[in-house]
Symmetry: D3
Subunit: 248 residues, 6 copies
């Protein structure tokens, strides 16, 4: 059940039975020579919709630009500053909490969003208290990264070992291949790839990771793998969501 | 050519031949008893992609939550505050202008975005000057509302006359029916509908327009109409985009 | 009745009979080789005071610097960023709404203010709701541009035809001549004048409109014309204001 | 020479001979039972214009709403928050410094503005450095309160002694009487008046100073006194301005 | 009684007997060739703790970075922008006022903080009103600069006359020597020292005051003087604090 | 070497041999019935100074109020909003990077700071690029939590097992006991303690963790343990700092 394809009376009816909402959030950033710039948004959106169907929950439109400032030395990357993303989350939750939603389950496709989202949740809780919104004290935001699901992680290790890396990974590329097989890209990937570095600003990031990959070999990805990852993530996150709803 | 399905080397190559980018922007807001909450984002996205294919231009991911504060008394609406949306646009354009894009063509599906977007463009131009970005003086943002295309307007008048109204209109609903026929909704619509009022805050809006429609009769919409509107908008905006690119 | 020349007990008494307030807003920006930099503020202020006298309403001090970033490549222009102007409007209305004012009638002399003001109104309504101010839901802001009054527009067409242009227009210059005949300026104006361009950032604007005029011939202005425009605007806006007060 | 009545080529010429600008700043706030709400703006504007004529300097439009949050429990008061006023000053000076102005002389009519203006100046200097504006390091803002001129202070002591007080003072009321004799107000003023308290928030202020006066007896004011104060302030501030321009 | 060394139940108990809190605030900025960069924080903290012991009041952790933008051309200086410091103060007081504190006594060691703190207090009072916090109208912030205590000022004049100067003064250096005798520094100080200038941005400040001193001769300082200043300040501010608590 | 006890010429000399700076950051928040409210700042400061001595590095003043909004339902807690803390970090690093520092090593004592600090680092890097600061691309911020040092974690497990918990832990309390033995507190601690819950807003946190502890038994702490933790943390973080400096 997609919020975008629902009417407001349908949402009103939904709120009679549930106060939960799934919010996919991704990023628009370089994913190496062969990965789609929208990888994190595409995967988060698809998995969120899968979860929504499984658990019969409403799914919000995807936040498809997140916090990716460190990727901005590569063309095509779009990023919010953390302070902007915090305000965006505050605005979203304020609207939705006034309407009666209280359980917000963010399905996230991008590691770079994690810190800012956690900061945003804290800012939001206090903002709602400041606004004297009725249910302020009952609002709960939960962050669920599909790529850190234990089942996903285990399969990635089995299939790719160290070549999973940490950005432009074969696992996330595989999910995009499963979803958009027509958009699969190939390129000759250097066997040498930046890895293991910390990184700092955008220019520094590009110096350390010149083609955008971080220790990964996305050439190992296949659409079939993608289907497996997708199904594992949907299953595991569906359970997480139900536990989240059931918890006090 | 979708930015989300492109790689960064593809964007780099694209920038060798064009500095134009199409950015769809919609809204997530109530559209009356039968209209989809995502109507403005859905229509803007589809038309933007149609334009992108026609003119061989890159299309950015859709900004699917815009400025809809006046609709927030209806559940399901999500809105940014104008000040947040301005920062979001500043962030987008700053990233993209650093990468070399200079011609930004916003295809907009929501009247409520217009004022804030114009304000955001002004804020952005000066921000880029302040940052001493190389091409700051050549950056151009253009706002193109598909629903004010003359061909679209003319057809809406022919098909619906006064019942087109100004929100939850049969023309926009028709486009969503064409795109998502499986999500068509029906409801008994009161022949009496709020219209012609100014409006102010969210509660005031709902008092004046109790079911969310503004003078419209979306029951007149058909998927076939939607196809016509879609094609007219794509054609007219494709021409606008090419003129925009060609202009100094 | 000017707020600036009133005492607080007079304002308290006024609030017993009316909750309406007229707020003139202009700009401080280049108006071509012969137009006063304060044209938009001067005209808005005078017309607002004329309306105030006609309808016996309180008139606030003039917001004489508005959103004119696109004129900032010409010396003497002062502009707020849109995000600053939004906060300014929020602050004004918050103070005044707490005191009991609910009907805010902005008489505007500058096209460049329109978008930001509309954004500011939306931001303000929600801000007041967030603050739990007593009458938040009854606060109404109305934007009334004197230069788009139908009677003004008609006369300008009759007197100047195409030479009215869209900035540094003979009609607005005429009003300043009527009000400040001692400050009339002359200069040899090129018969060729930039017109019909879109425009973007400040440097771009100056390239397209090198002497600051936009398609206008302000040499046609006379103080007598100015008197006519002034009187038409006062009359038409007085009626608008009374309708605004009377409306629910 | 008023910026508002000048053209941009006149400002350009002015910048060839001077980089100084006088900026009047006042407030819109209660001034007791008989004082005009605009007292601080009216006096600052008139004195600034007097100085401008004396020293042949350009005078900017008046900032007529300042920092008066502590007066907001009285109807008619309008105030910016300090954070808004800081942004406003940053915006003003940024525009003007880009145009070539470097010496900004604020003639201030309101004690409540002082702290925020000083903060704003510091914020502005660093903002200009951050923007890499050409003359950033030469920009100088000077705050000159007309009511703390030694000649003004001395006369007020002579004429009113302790009854000068510190808000809604006879000296400032006298200046408004001189400028707007037709707007003189009378009221029976209690001989008992709040004085000597510190004060904090708006409600606290009104509790301590129930009719808005702070230890003052504005009934002592006369238009003739006002003329004297005006002339003393103009003379003393003209000298200050010339010293400011001459100093490195 | 230090907040940092207290438990929350102790604070709860404290609030049963007092709603007062002492907040030391200093700065991290150059203090000439021999003065510690932390002089203003070190002195404010020690004196605040002395006052706290004398009057049996709780002392908050020291705000050790304040508003010192004008010193930022000297290495080691750290400053908040005024707009940041305002938000910091708003955040502090909002937390503490919700817990029940209402009397905030800032013991300040840095002249450059004064303006921004006053602005921050005004912003805070209105913020608390906007949040509908229970005791918003009773919250009081008081600024107490130890270096402007009359007893301190008198002693400094006696000991140092004109060589006290206004920054990197022997009196403040003496207090740091008393507190940290092991950190005393010497350097050959030029007998010529910048003084009497106004100052503006950071580079301007360093031009006028090349070694960072403002008219002072810190070589006159001794730890014994420091002890005297410390004791005078603690005594005088203890009285001020008690009066502040006792006042309505 | 403490920045607060250094002079600016000493800092200038230091910058000739190192561009590294250690910044302790803690929090001011409840730590259960017996833990000091300043635990996180006290421990971070002491360990940072220990590291500074070990590696001969400059140590900045402690940021003693951090992001602790979730603890604000307990009296005595002070927290910045994440958006404020981000601006604070931006301001700190901007000043210091202009002076020549490039390697910023934050020694952190509070888990709740981690997300916001990471967001702040990203915001800062881009801010410095926007400002065109000379070494913007070489600025590096590193976050080092003393409580997640592997040696610390191992010892805590050995000493306390599951009773270490995750807030008001015996390990952190032990360090404060070692540093301030005179401030040790006792209280009868319920053997039942909230643990394992997620948490959300401040009221929610207090409901789940009614005495403020999270699964911990701080009664196990001793000053001797504290000495061990302190020494392990200093040793491990000294090595981390040297690696950080040495790394490209």
């Amino acid at each position: 059940m997609l919020l975008h394809l629902s009417t407001w009376p349908e949402v009103e009816a939904y709120l009679g039975r549930s106060s939960g909402l799934i919010l996919p959030i991704g990023s628009t950033e370089q994913h190496g020579p062969t990965g789609s710039i929208g990888t994190d948004a595409i995967t988060a959106e698809a998995i969120a919709r899968g979860v929504g169907e499984t658990v019969n929950s409403l799914v919000a439109p995807t936040i498809n630009v997140g916090m990716a400032l460190h990727h901005t030395a590569f063309p095509g990357t779009i990023s919010l500053r953390p302070s902007t993303l915090i305000q965006l989350v505050v605005d979203y939750i304020t609207c939705l909490a006034r309407a009666g939603f209280t359980k917000f389950f963010f399905i996230n496709g991008h590691g770079g969003n994690i810190a800012t989202l956690k900061a945003a949740f804290a800012e939001t809780y206090t903002h709602l208290v400041n606004l004297n919104i009725a249910n302020a004290d009952r609002v709960q935001c939960r962050l669920a990264n599909w790529f850190t699901c234990s089942s996903v992680y285990k399969l990635a290790k089995e299939l790719y070992g160290d070549q999973e890396g940490s950005h432009a990974t074969p696992s996330e590329v595989a999910v995009t291949q499963y979803l958009y097989p027509e958009a699969m890209k190939t390129a000759s990937l250097s066997p040498e790839v930046g890895k293991g570095h910390g990184f700092y600003g955008p220019a520094d990031f590009r110096r350390r990771y010149p083609d955008g990959r971080m220790g990964s070999n996305p050439a190992l990805a296949t659409p079939e793998h993608g289907k497996q990852f997708y199904e594992l993530a949907v299953k595991e996150l569906s359970n997480s969501y139900l536990e989240f709803l059931a918890a006090e």
